[in-house]
Amino acid sequence: MGKDFTERIELLQGTLDMLVLRTLLFGPAHGHQIAKHIQRTTEDMLQVEHGSLYPALHRLERKGWIAAKWESAGKDLKREFKFYRLTAAGRKQLLNEEVKWKKMTGAIARVMWPKPASEEES
């Protein structure tokens, strides 16, 4: 299971928040689901340590970007999980971060793989 450790990429500082918010855009999820989702989507490239996931979740909750509720889920109705969902402020924050992220990756891309001058003008 999973990729070799060496192929994993360290999460860039501050990106975990964005990824969590983005994951919650699909609907409420608990911590394990969020972690699995990110892992699966990136084909195990990004491993979300639970030592950084839970502090992040609690931080986001405190900032009001996500809200939490204990609910039972799945086949086993007796078990309750803490489900997080995106709040309106969280959506706005996600948008902000996305814009910022795009700008940054664009800027990095321009440095790393410069395009011919003619194309840039067009």
Partner: protein, 880 residues
């Protein structure tokens, strides 16, 4: 409230993480692992759960308060775990802080406290100088009045003179501290009345006698008259003169002098009611200087500007006011202004001892701090492994440093509490010491005020930060692996070097205190055992003044005769007499005289004198060497006689029999009829001097103290004496009752206080040094246990091992002593003026100081040494 919410959150977090773990484990069982395997693998995958929780808590945002609580709990627990360390650290800090707080309270009271009047910093005093030498700070009444009228620099100028007033009642007389004041007194000081009105120029009628009115202090009003609302207009019998009370001054006002408490003010033009002697007729003369001035600067005027304005005016007045015939002879003087925010003539006998003490306690603080730093370093060193473990378990360095700081803070707070208690006690004791023997109403009031408490707290916080931070920072260096590999209790080299330096510094600084204490002890010993020339033991002294209850001089004289007769008749009283000057009380009288047939030298013109009654020498047990004592037949009309001491003979009529010699004193021809042993006169620290005794009846003196030699216990004696006096006049006020030995002891109060404190501090700092050294050697022994084991194993003798550590300790002591000797000698120079009978470079005492340190040092290193030579090779090699 947040505590219960907090608990819930904590539970939820636990549940949340548990759920995660369960899911993770389930996944793995689904993949085919066994349940146990799956749980274990899940746990591994999730990593350090404790750390995760910590980080989540950090995200909650109240961790600071939280962890502070934890740190505090932890600090208490770990300090309880090493009580000796905690106790020594707390006591050292307490000692340093307490001593400094107490002494600074005195400094504050002496140097920084202002009179409790509005804008006290605008007040100035006036002094007269001739050729740069201070000659005078009292002025005549006309001078004060004219200066007040003509100057442009002051918003008021007052003159005052303290007088002893007795409040006569049906039950007897009570002594009060009064002062006669000029009309501008209250407006200059800007004091307001609590009741009625205050004195003004109208009360102070210069042409005649002023109004018989007085203003009493709030304190007297409350204490003596119970705050009687009808006090205004009441008539008080003050030294047998009726005065009506017109007002009460505002609460807190105690007169224009920091160290005295004045009970009432009376117009200066009525001063004659309270003063005796030939001066009474001269009170309004410009030749009689007696009033102490205090002025208030006009707003915006600096001291120097005002001085430039006042000086020429004073010089002009000085010329104008003297008799025209002597005007040309007058020597020109200059007048200077000084800060009067503390009122007039501050009693400076306190200054010297307090300054010395300030230096001493400063040293004590330094030593205490060095000791605490030493302890903290040692402790940090011995906990290096603990820190390494904690760092490797994921604790952050900041957190560890903070925790160590909290520990130092806990120590500092406890030290501060101990210090404040110590300061409270010291202030109390020192005040008693310093104020003993001062006339009633004159005292230095020192309290532990909020400012000083703040000072103590600041001092302890500073100590905590300065001496906690460095060891904390050093011992939490994140070099985990080497630290874990090291044996327990090992410490970096820098720490050890630092500790050695601290111990050497402690020793050097302590030597300064010890040497000073030695010098002071020798001084006190000399002062105590010195032969006074008489025996003050079992002598009770007291003062009565019949004229304060209205007697004429003749009545007063016969009252004294009756009192002495009564006293001599009392059983248990072996002798009673009276004298104008009580030896060693600080007073003195000198007189002009000539020895006929001997060319007068300028230095011989004057000699000290005392006017005494018969039996004076018997009362004081002063040896009569030849001739006779005075007797009742030596009265005004009989031939004038004198008794002289040996030094008088030696200086003025050397080699001759003094008996029968005649000397001239003024117009009187006086025959020497007796010779007595030399004795101390004014001050125990001065050399004995030639002295002439005259019979009281043949001098114009007034105001005697009565001396009584009695075998009775002090309390009974005083009661007996009181009864004897009051049989003569029931209303006669008695004051200044004291045992002569007590009075002499009080004369050396500052020496006793300094000796007491310096010795106390010496013992304490020597102990601190010993502890520092002990700690260092004990540490070295434990660090080198293995090495010692090896040495023993290969055949080293016990003495070899002992030498190893003795070399270290003697090296440190030697270094400390070497640095301490010049420091001690240099600092002792400041003590010079307080020393008596011992040089500030006294070799014996210096040797003793060095010896004490060497002994203390060897003793301190003996205990760990014993441990070192008892090390079993086999055990040592296993030692880890």
């Amino acid at each position: 409230m947040w505590f219960s919410r907090r608990k819930q959150r904590e539970q939820e977090l636990e549940r949340e993480l548990q759920a995660h773990l369960d899911l993770e484990a389930e996944e793995r069982t689904e993949a085919g692992m066994s349940y146990e395997e799956a749980r274990f693998a899940a746990k591994r995958a999730l990593g350090n759960e404790g750390l995760t929780k910590e980080d989540v808590r950090a995200a909650w945002g109240w961790t600071f308060v939280e962890t502070l609580g934890q740190d505090l709990r932890y600090a208490f627990r770990s300090l309880r775990g090493s009580p000796v360390f905690a106790l020594v650290a707390i006591l050292s800090l307490g000692l340093g802080i307490g001593a400094n707080t107490a002494i600074f309270s005195f400094v504050n009271a002496l140097l920084f406290k202002h009179l409790p009047v509005p804008d006290a910093d605008r007040l100035v005093t006036l002094s007269e100088y001739r050729n740069g030498k201070h000659i005078n700070d009292v002025f005549s009444l006309p001078m004060i009045a004219e200066l007040d009228k003509r100057n442009q620099a002051f918003d008021g100028l007052l003159g005052r003179y303290p007088v002893r007033v007795s409040l006569n009642t049906d039950h007897g007389a009570e002594p009060l501290n009064g002062e006669v004041v000029t009309g501008k007194y209250f407006t200059t000081l800007q004091v307001k009345p609590a009741l009625g009105r205050l004195l003004n120029d109208d009360d102070d009628v210069q042409a005649g006698t002023g109004n018989p009115v007085c203003v009493i202090s709030y304190a007297l009003w409350q204490a003596r008259f119970g705050g009687d609302p009808h006090i205004l207009g009441r008539t008080l019998l003050l030294s047998a003169h009726p005065y009506s009370v017109v007002g009460v001054t505002e609460k807190g006002f105690f007169g224009p002098q920091m160290q005295s408490r004045i009970d009432l003010q009376i117009p200066v033009s009525r001063a004659g009611d309270f003063m005796n002697g030939p001066f009474v007729t001269m009170l309004k003369s410009s030749n009689f200087t007696w009033l102490e001035p205090l002025a208030r600067l006009k707003p915006g005027l600096t001291l120097r500007r005002a001085e430039a304005m006042v000086n020429p005016l004073c010089r002009a007045l000085r010329l104008e006011l003297v008799d025209p015939s002597v005007r040309s002879k007058i020597q020109m003087t200059t007048f200077r202004l000084f800060d009067g925010s503390q009122g007039m003539n501050v009693d400076d006998t306190y200054f010297k001892p307090v300054t010395i003490l300030m230096g001493v306690v400063g040293l004590v603080l330094l030593i205490a701090c060095a000791n605490v730093a030493n302890l903290l370093l040692a402790r940090a060193g011995s906990r290096a492994t603990e820190f390494a473990v904690r760092l490797s378990l994921g604790a952050s360095r900041g957190r560890l440093v903070r925790q160590l700081m909290v520990e130092s803070l806990v120590l500092a707070c406890a030290g501060c509490a101990v210090g404040l208690a110590l300061a409270y006690w010291m202030i109390h004791t020192l005040s008693l010491y310093l104020n003993a023997g001062k006339p009633s109403g004159n005292f230095l009031q020192v309290r532990l005020d909020p400012l000083m408490i703040g000072f103590a707290i600041l001092l302890s916080l500073l100590t905590a930060v300065v001496f906690g931070l460095a060891p904390a920072w050093q011992s939490t260096k994140p070099e985990i692996v080497p630290e874990l590999k090291k044996a327990q209790g090992q410490m970096g080299n820098t720490g050890a070097k630092m500790r050695r330096f601290l111990v050497v510094a402690e020793i050097a600084l302590s030597m300064m205190i010890l040497f000073a204490a030695g010098l002071m002890t020798r001084t006190l010993g000399k002062l105590k055992t010195i032969d006074l020339g008489f025996d003050p033991g079992r002598v009770v002294m007291l003062r009565v003044d019949p004229r304060m209850s209205g007697d004429s001089p003749e009545q007063s004289d016969s009252a004294f005769d009756d009192i002495l007769t009564n006293l001599r008749a009392q059983p248990g009283i072996s002798a009673a007499s009276m004298a104008v000057v009580t030896p060693l009380e600080g007073g003195m009288i000198s007189m002009d005289f000539e020895v006929p047939g001997r060319p007068p030298k300028s230095s011989d013109l004057q000699t000290n004198m005392n006017a005494i009654s018969p039996d004076y020498f018997k009362t004081l047990s002063q040896a009569m060497l030849a001739g006779r004592d005075f007797n009742d037949r030596d009265v005004k009309k009989s031939p004038h006689v004198a008794i002289v001491n040996e030094l008088f003979v030696k200086q003025y009529i050397p080699g001759e029999n003094p008996l029968g010699r005649h000397i001239k004193m003024g117009d009187n021809d006086v025959e020497i009829v007796g010779l007595v042993k030399n004795s101390f006169y004014q001050d125990i620290r001065e050399k004995m001097s030639p002295l002439i005794y005259l019979p009281v009846k043949q001098t114009n003196s007034s105001g005697y103290s009565i001396l009584v030699r009695t075998a009775l216990p002090a309390k009974i004696a005083v009661a007996e004496i009181q009864r004897a006096v009051q049989t003569v006049d029931a209303k006669l006020p008695i004051y200044g009752v004291q045992q002569m030995q007590e009075m002499i002891d009080q004369g050396i109060t500052s020496e006793r206080m300094l000796t007491f404190l310096a010795t106390l501090f010496s013992v304490l700092v020597t102990l601190l040094c010993g502890m520092g050294l002990y700690g260092l050697i004990a540490y070295a022994v434990s660090r080198r246990t293995r090495e010692i084991g090896v040495r023993f194993a290969v055949g080293a003798r016990k003495s070899d091992v002992a030498k190893l550590f003795l070399r270290e300790s003697t090296f440190l002591i030697g270094l400390g002593v070497l640095a301490g000797v010049p420091l001690a000698l240099a600092s002792a120079r400041m003590l010079k003026s307080l020393l008596f009978g011992v040089s500030e470079m006294d070799g014996g005492i210096l040797f003793l100081t060095v010896a004490i340190f060497l002994t203390a040092g060897v003793l301190a290193s003996l205990l760990p040494l014993r441990k070192a030579i008892r090390i079993e090779p086999l055990q040592a090699l296993r030692y880890e």
